[in-house]
Symmetry: C2
Subunit: 243 residues, 2 copies
């Protein structure tokens, strides 16, 4: 099943292989930011950069974890199904985030990971990460920090997006999406995706978006799935909704 290519402002990668980790634009955020030049030199020949279109899978729940991925550009979502078969979106990852950490433990992936926008990734094979972690204590430290961050994001998701009245949850989602903004253009999920993030029905999600559009908080852009956010109006709406 092939998805239509949505136009999205992403810098083109110089190739699937030819970038150097030393000059990586997300190096300071990324896992290997902790390493020195020599280790990086050895490293970047083993790392493959890949690019995915929106709605393509990064990996699937249950498949053997052979690599983790650094998100260089774009947004990735984590999906899971409840026991009664309804899909739930449980977390988002953006630029600089590390996804599929369980691969480092040689465990199968715990969730489905899917690209929300066109996405650029760096593939970090387990064996490579293992080898480097054996030598570099700083890398081990950084790995553990990543895990801790994942815990905090998961907890924040359930403490912020899963509770309270629907309009408030929607506003909090907008705040989160704004953090992944690309030069003022913010990703606006499809209505059924919003519904699966906030535990709503498509209809309610649609009503909420419509209201925010009328109030000027959201301005939908072309192509679809893009918006501009009025930060001030968002803050105002939040302050009012939290009372």
């Amino acid at each position: 099943m092939l998805m239509p290519v949505t136009v999205w402002r992403t810098p083109q990668p110089s190739g699937t292989q030819g970038h150097t980790c030393e000059r990586c634009e997300v190096r300071s955020d990324a896992l290997f930011g902790a390493l020195d030049g020599a280790a990086l030199e050895r490293l970047h020949t083993d790392i493959a950069a890949s690019q995915l279109q929106a709605e393509q899978a990064v990996y699937g729940r249950g498949s053997p974890g052979v690599a983790a991925y650094t998100v260089r550009e774009g947004i990735v979502r984590f999906e899971r199904c409840t026991q009664d078969g309804r899909r739930r979106i449980v977390r988002l990852a953006g630029r600089g985030d590390l996804v599929g950490l369980e691969a480092v433990l040689a465990q199968p992936y715990a969730e489905d990971a899917v690209a929300c926008t066109p996405v650029q990734l760096c593939r970090l094979p387990r064996l490579l990460v293992d080898a480097l972690a054996g030598e570099h204590a700083a890398l081990r430290q950084e790995l553990m920090r990543r895990w801790q961050r994942a815990v905090e994001q998961a907890v924040a998701w359930s403490a912020e997006l899963a509770v309270g009245p629907a309009p408030l949850r929607m506003l909090r989602l907008l705040v989160l999406l704004q953090r992944h903004a690309d030069d003022g253009r913010v990703w606006l999920p499809r209505r059924d995706q919003i519904a699966d993030m906030l535990d709503l029905t498509v209809e309610t999600a649609s009503r909420l978006v419509s209201r925010l559009r009328r109030e000027g908080v959201i301005t939908e852009l072309l192509p679809p799935r893009h918006m501009r956010l009025d930060g001030a109006a968002l803050v105002r709406a939040l302050a009012q909704a939290e009372r």
Copy 2:
């Protein structure tokens, strides 16, 4: 503020210091299960066992993380406050779980951790864990596994307990509590705590418990905060609620 001591069936520790990690009843589940006898010997003189009453704090959000804790007995909850000041319970830990992992990274604790029942803990100072982790790769591996488990539990909480109709969420909570059962006696949280776990009001929580009691799923025991669960009835109720 001192809490009344509720009677709860817990094996008494032999002392605050004198246990040997080698014979620890949770060793196979615990962090240091990965270590050999010699390392354990050196270890157990540095580890302090402590006992908390129900509702006593293990640690508080923001305070400097100087130690992680292994739960030897009892249940610990993690609390957090939303921006609008309402309390939320975001996760539970039980026998064999490791809490306060962020201390290993010398980070402040991310949440409040509070004993739900009388609790026995082993205190693992950061410096000790750091030192051992430097020497033993197996321990590092186990630490990372713990982090991964924490992520999965946090995700499961928001995917299972935070979504769907209230009766269903309540039943799923019972399933979770059952896993922490102590010889058939299951901890039954106070109504306001149930409310903070499932994002309900106290009244709704009370109504749900009452209904389950009438239906025979729950039998409340003395002293308060104890119950017996009818597993078969629970499964039946779940099957019906998930349709």
